[in-house]
Symmetry: C2
Subunit: 118 residues, 2 copies
DNA sequence: CTTAGTGCACTATGCACATAGTACACTAAA
DNA sequence: TTTAGTGTACTATGTGCATAGTGCACTAAG
């Protein structure tokens, strides 16, 4: 994984796993990799990995049990709620950025539809 | 101005001024506030303010002249180019985020058009 | 020449992040 | 009971960001 130096690594890894959860790639109740294993998977420090799970737990997306591991929450309503929030926030941020650039919603939407994939 | 603690302040202030330049709120050739004055305007440290101008100069959006101050570049082509890049990058980032959430371009564009303003 | 404003280059401190390493408590399985 | 895997809690180090403060070189205006 490629990391942006202008943003904390724990936040970037957290967002990646968060996305896996809300899209169902990591289903409710599933066991997540152990802290030490996560560190290897994402080439980060075990302490940073622990931070990732702490923050995910704080958002109600997973539960850590000492000696057993960390699991995706079974609260599907919460997961759906977070997914909606993520989408709405992304849209709001984009609309805001474009507005600051003096580009209206019509034009912004058009750019999304016609955008080239690189 | 409100600062996001998960991103460097110099980058946030830089983006703000960059936006002012590409939208014409700060026209080509205009004198920008002095480093010490900028620090007061944005409630940041003079060193951080200096960093902002250094980075803006590195992007070819302003020119600093010792003893005279910092000025918006007169290269209007460069300004237009940066504006286009900012818009395209914002669109690409948004489309990518939505794709990761399993939301297609049609739906993403619809959200932009129908998004509520808060 | 003097002065004010400027860019620019330093030193120093505090903090968060990321790293490395160690240790302990707990759980499940052999 | 022993063992492996786990979450959790420490200490310690290095780095970048942001802060504070000082000083110097340069420019334009008085």
């Amino acid at each position: 994984m490629q990391y942006d130096p202008n943003s904390p690594i724990w936040l970037q890894v957290m967002t990646a796993i968060k996305t896996d959860i809300v899209t169902g790639r990591r289903p409710p109740g599933e066991k997540l990799p152990g802290g030490r294993e996560l560190a290897v998977l994402y080439t980060i420090n075990p302490n940073t990995a622990a931070r990732v799970y702490q923050e995910l737990e704080r958002e109600g997306l997973c539960e850590s049990r000492r000696g057993m591991g960390t699991y995706v929450t079974g609260d599907e309503e919460r997961i759906a709620q977070v997914r909606g929030t993520m989408a709405r926030q992304a849209a709001a941020r984009f609309a805001n950025e474009m507005e600051k650039l003096g580009i209206g919603r019509q034009e912004a939407a058009r750019m999304i539809l016609e955008e080239e994939k690189e």
